[in-house]
Each structure stands twice: as C-alpha cells, then as structure tokens.
Symmetry: C2
Subunit: 424 residues, 2 copies
C-alpha cells in the first residue's frame, strides 16, 4: 500500500509554521487529556492537537476497519496491535482529511470544534502502556568512551560488543512523559578510597541522549523472527532520556547490571513518530567489522538520519545546547536489536519499548551524556550564563530535540524535557 | 484486625487430605478458567477450586466493601490494590463460609454447583498482570558459590554484596504459569578458547529454585518507603523457577547483566499464598555482618521458614529430588529488598513481582541450581533411573515444591512445574 500521507508537496488547511516538526507529512500518534477531562488518542499537525476518538466517532474513518473505541483509550497499545496496514490506512486518511484541497472537515464548524484543539489546551500523557522496556548499548562511540574511561583504552570494547547488540531489561513503571518533574534520587554510593558505602542524594546525575522504538505484537513465547521481517513489527520512535545516577550505578552494577542508578525515572517525548513517516530519511548504518553472525546480517539501508540535540536550561536562564548527535551513528540497527531480542524465544508485545542506548557521535561535541561531555567531570561544560556543569544540578531542565530534514520536508519529534527537583 | 482465617483448629466441610498444601488455613488467591470458558479469580481448599466471582455475585461477601466485578477479572491486580485490610476481610470471610460449622453454602446445592469445582476441571492461569519484575541475588551461599566458581574463592563476594541487596530488572512478558511448556532457547555462545561466537540451542539449560513476592501499590515516583512499613505492601508469595541458559548468559552478561540467558521464560506457581497465611512461620533471618546502612536495618523476625524442593523428572520416568533448600537461608529479607528498590524513588505497583534469586543452603544437597549441584558440570547429579545430569535435558520436567509446617498445620504452595521441549 502506498504511503500517500508522505506526499511531500501536500499542504494542510491547518496552519503549520515553516520549521515545525509536525507538518502534515508527520502525523504522529499520542495520547492527551482535553480541557473537558477526556483522555483520547490523537495526532498533531503544526500546533494543533487532533482528537482521533472524536474523528472516528463522527464517521471520518468509516471506510477503515477499526473497532469503535480504538481511539477512545488511554494508550495506543490496541491500535498498535492492529498492525502496519491499519497504521498506514489511518495516516493516509488523516492526511487526506487535513489536505488543503479537502473541505469535508474544514467547512464543518460543529465537528471542528470537538476535533481540533490548540496544543496548549491539552495535556500530553504517556502514549503507550509499556509492558517491557529494554535498553541497548548500541553506539560504538559511547561504548568506546565508557570503556576507555572505566576500563582500558586499549581494549575499550568488551569481547562480546562487536558480535551482538548488548542490552539489558529496564524498569517500565518509571518511564514518564516529557515535562514530568524528576526528583534527584537517593542511594548508596562508595566514597573514594573507602570500603564502606554512604547513603544520600546522587552527586552525579546525568542524562543519556537516546531514541527508543515501540513494537507491535511480535512473537509468541518460544518463537523467533528473522531479520527481514523485523521492520514490520516496529511502529515508531520517540526521543528518550535515560536519566542516570552515575555514582549509584557504579557501586551497584557489578555483576548484574544497572538497577537503581537508572530506574528512578526515564523520560520519553509524547508523540510517537511512525516508521512510515521516517521512511524518506533512511540511510546506511556504519559498516560492521567483523561481520555479525548470519541471523544479524541484513543489506540495504536500515539506519535513519535523525539529528539529535541535548540542551541544559538552568532555572530562569536561557538554554545551552551541549550536544549535537545523530541517530545514524548507531552501530547496531533497530532491526538487529529486535531480532536478537527474540532469538531466545522471548515474546515481545505491543507497546514494548526498546532504547538505543546513549547516542554519541565521533566528535566530543556529539557525545550523548555529561559523563562523556565532561569526561568524567574532568572537563566541565560551559553554559551560556557563564556557569559550568560536570553533571546536572537541581532545577536544571534537560531538553532534547530530534528531527529529520531534506530539501522537501522536516519531520521531527518535538521535545523531550525534564526538570530536576531536589530529593523528596 | 485479627486474622481469624489462620485459626489452626478450624476444619472445612470440604474434604482436605492430611498432607495437603491447601488446608482451610491457607486460602491463597489465583485465576482460573472454568469448563464453561469463564475466567475468574478463585481460591483453593484441598483439591477444590472456589470461584470467588460467583461467590461475590451470590452475595456471600455482602458485608465487605468490594466493587461488584473485583473477582470477575483475569488478574488479581485490582484486588491487590485494595490493600491489606480488604485481603484480611476476604480471607476471614472465606474461612467462615467453608468452616465445618457453617451450613449457609454447604447446604445450598444450587449455589455450590456454580462456586465449587474439582481442581481437575479448571485450568490455572497467570494470577497477576506483572507490570515489572525484579530479581535479586540474595542468598549468600548462592552468591558465594557462583563467585567461587567464576571469580576468586578467596573473594567470592563482590564488594557491594554485603551492603545492599543486589538486583536487576528482569523480563515480565515471558513469566508463565506452572505447566507451561518451555522451549530450549537459542542464542550466541562462545566456544572454549575461541574468540568467535556460535549460534544454536543452549547446551547449559538450568533452573533456579526461587521464591517471589507480589506487591500492592507501594509509592509514587520520587517517593521512598521506610523498612517498617515494607511488610504492608507485600501481598503474598509464589514459587519461582528462573530458568537460565548458562552459556548464553556467560557470553552476554558483561557489563550490563543477564538478558537473553534469562528472558526466554520464567515459571511461577499459580496460587499466591498471602503473607497473612505465612504469619505462623516467621523466623529470624541470618545475622548481617557488617551491619547494613540504617535504612536497611530492622529487628525482629522477617524471614519465613519455607521448605523448598527441586526435582527432575525425565519423560516417562519417576522424579528425583535433587535439592532440599529453605527460604529462611536468604541473607536479605523481602522487606530490605523492597525498601532498597524504592530508595531512588522508583515506583512499585500492584502486581509487580520480586524474585529472591537462587536459594541455596549451606550444604551441597541444598544448592538451588544445577550449576551449583553439578559444580559447573564437574560433578554430575545421579537420577533414580540411573542416568546423570549436569544440566537439564529436553523432555525433562523440573518440579519445585514449597511448604511450611509446624505441629498444627501445613501451608504450602503446591507445585511449580515446567517441561523442556526442543528448540522450536
């Protein structure tokens, strides 16, 4: 089926500013709360939030096989379960309804009033009920940086790293939507040259600039999928800040991996941008040497050119962009991550989320965490207001942005924001 | 409120055999499917499954504030959210209804028919929708055994182990109920003396004899709880087999911990035995030296004397008990685990599950995994049919049992079974 929603010349009758992340070619999916306290699934064009529940109820999707309440839910999980064909039909139809040549809704003032809202009048909620969240460690530059810092610069990558996408199970309950306040976590840490830990607020609070993808129902327990079908199971992507408390993490993580140093909170952007919308921005992923095992081999373009940015905004001050990275730097593709995840028969469900791991580029200004940007605190990062940061302070807001751009269009993710408040 | 359900002299008018794990003093909670294809929440007395949905609909709980459909659900999550007071009221009332001196249901043939089933006529389902699953590593004997095998016998415990309950986030989607078949997982492993991994079915499939506890809603994001309130948030316990593929685990787990070596499947027993039912079996936990940090300190009896057993049953043969352990050996208590989990503000929800980690006792016949029982394959375990096992073969069934016993009563968990089938 053709993705007519991606037609780059289409204009919407809804006003979209020139540099918007949300032109009519994007049509992401999210969940929001209206002023009338109704939770609904929606999409966004420009700075308008569109209520898909109302749109469906009023018959605008009558030619698409959809259950009556599919958009009148507090999560996208059931819609995501409907599969790629349905996602395409719905995006194509939304594009048609809001096309500047289409007057069916545009001229219906009564319908308009209950379907289209100013973005400021709705509250964005977590878009999916995340059953399981997995985080990978898939940027070679990030793995090399941390290996160099904490182990051995000569052998920065561990023996398994080039053979498989290293990952771990994360905490799903503490994944929150952008603009949720984050309390500085407490925990055990080990003072330098001491053998006795102390307890208190983390002193090394960090962000991790990541993207994450959301899956549909992939497989039953005991089954695996092949690399060529992996893409069919990926619904879309979000920006992801995997907040980390480096001192807590350091003391707890051997031998079973990150735990409380991560699980106090993780922030995602509210709008899931579909893989269909990202289609024009496919690119080649880095060459893999050595060649991975056959089940991980795939030719063609399976990376995406998504520009990434992280900024720090001290309270009452302007922000400073501290990192410019790109999703295309990822050594392991999303397809490889998903296939690897099912090799053992582990079942992946609709609404599961898989994070990329910190996305660091090749140059120091493209590193995706304060740990790397300040090189373990040895090179403080200068902010525009004259202050310096080794890690994140109380009342700092971390703002992440992601967008794709070519000569015709810009498809973006909006922002993923979180402000740090003092320990509760 | 008094736990009248625990009265040790009470008899039921339902027949209960002498060594049953499920006397009228147990009253566990589970979810089952009836012959009429109805999913309901239930309890068990002897070999009878009792439909609590029907019991409630027929008015037997009219004096307890409960929502109408609280038991007509496919998971216990909402009931668990109702909190300890409600759990007690319901258990006390069930004990009264089935007391041999009570005829209200006993003499009502019409009601009986739709409330009480033979256990063989129902199919047990997963009792909770597990939002997040955490596994700890809390048996000192197990940690010492694995540290001795894989690292250094002189420094078997890592520096953090005596200071905090080490844990990691596990995979929730692949937790299945007892008697679900388990397919031998495939994955990457590294052959001895090679640097290039190979792909195929695991050759070192193992069980881990564990118990797990199920929580109610504990805290909001950013909040912590204190050790003295921890017990209020623990609903009950199940037997837990944390299946492990040792060769996959070994190659993948540094530095981010266990991933596909564990997430192919984990099995729990179907009946959640409440902490109230386990109350008579409190005992002291092992002395902790050094004293943990203040937030983990608690006096009194917070361990439970629960006898544990693991057996291997080759296809068509009798079983062989390969391990006899006890939950009281756990170095870190459930309260300590739960408190530690919330120190960083991580929110714990109703239906979350926390595993103990392998429960090994002090003697070789009490080790809780084949890894330890066969000491990494160097001491094969003899089975009654004359065969030997280093790890688990295809078509072997692993059967776990757990029960408490004193002079008056026996409270048990039934079995937690899983049969290994060849790779799909």
């Amino acid at each position: 089926m053709k993705i007519t929603a991606n037609n780059p010349t289409r204009k919407s009758w809804l006003k979209v500013s020139k540099n918007s992340d949300f032109p009519i070619q994007n049509i992401p999916f999210g969940v929001f709360l209206t002023k009338e306290n109704i939770t609904t699934i929606g999409t966004r064009i420009g700075n308008y939030a569109i209520d898909l529940g109302a749109l469906h109820q009023l018959g605008y999707f009558s030619e698409i096989p959809l259950t009556d309440d599919i958009f009148m839910q507090d999560s996208l999980n059931d819609f995501i379960s409907d599969g790629r064909k349905t996602w395409r039909l719905v995006r194509n139809r939304i594009a048609a309804i809001f096309d500047s040549n289409n007057t069916e809704l545009q001229s219906n003032k009564k319908d308009l009033k209950i379907i289209v809202f100013n973005l400021d009048d709705v509250e964005m909620l977590l878009p999916v009920n995340i059953g399981d969240y997995t985080d990978f460690f898939a940027s070679k530059e990030h793995a090399t940086n941390t290996g160099t810092m904490f182990r051995d610069p000569e052998n920065a990558l561990l023996p398994n790293w080039l053979h498989l996408p290293v990952g771990y199970h994360g905490r799903a309950s503490s994944i929150v939507v952008s603009e949720t306040a984050i309390y500085r976590p407490k925990g055990q840490t080990i003072p330098k040259d001491s053998k006795i830990p102390v307890f208190g607020p983390t002193r090394l609070l960090d962000f991790e600039l990541e993207m994450a993808f959301i899956t549909t129902d992939v497989n039953h327990l005991g089954e695996s999928i092949s690399i060529d079908e992996a893409e069919d199971y990926i619904f879309g992507m979000v920006l992801f800040n995997d907040w980390s408390a480096r001192d807590i993490q350091k003391w707890e993580y051997v031998p079973l991996g990150p735990f409380l140093g991560k699980s106090f909170a993780s922030t995602i952007s509210p709008w899931i941008v579909t893989m269909d919308a990202l289609e024009p921005f496919r690119t080649k992923s880095p060459r893999q040497e050595p060649n991975p095992l056959p089940y991980l081999q795939q030719s063609g373009k399976h990376a995406f050119d998504i520009k990434l940015q992280a900024a720090i905004k001290p309270e009452g001050e302007e922000e400073t962009i501290v990192s410019n990275s790109n999703f295309k730097y990822m050594y392991w593709t999303m397809n490889q991550q998903l296939v690897h995840h099912t090799t053992n028969g582990c079942n992946v469900r609709s609404g599961d989320m898989m994070g990329s791991g910190t996305i660091s580029g090749p140059t120091p200004d493209s590193y995706g965490s304060m740990l790397e940007l300040s090189w373990r605190g040895t090179k403080p990062v200068k902010l525009n207001n004259g202050s310096e940061r080794k890690f994140i302070n109380d009342f700092d807001e971390v703002i992440m942005r992601a967008y794709c751009e070519n000569d015709n269009i810009r498809i973006g993710f909006g922002t993923c924001k979180g402000k740090i408040l003092p320990t509760k």
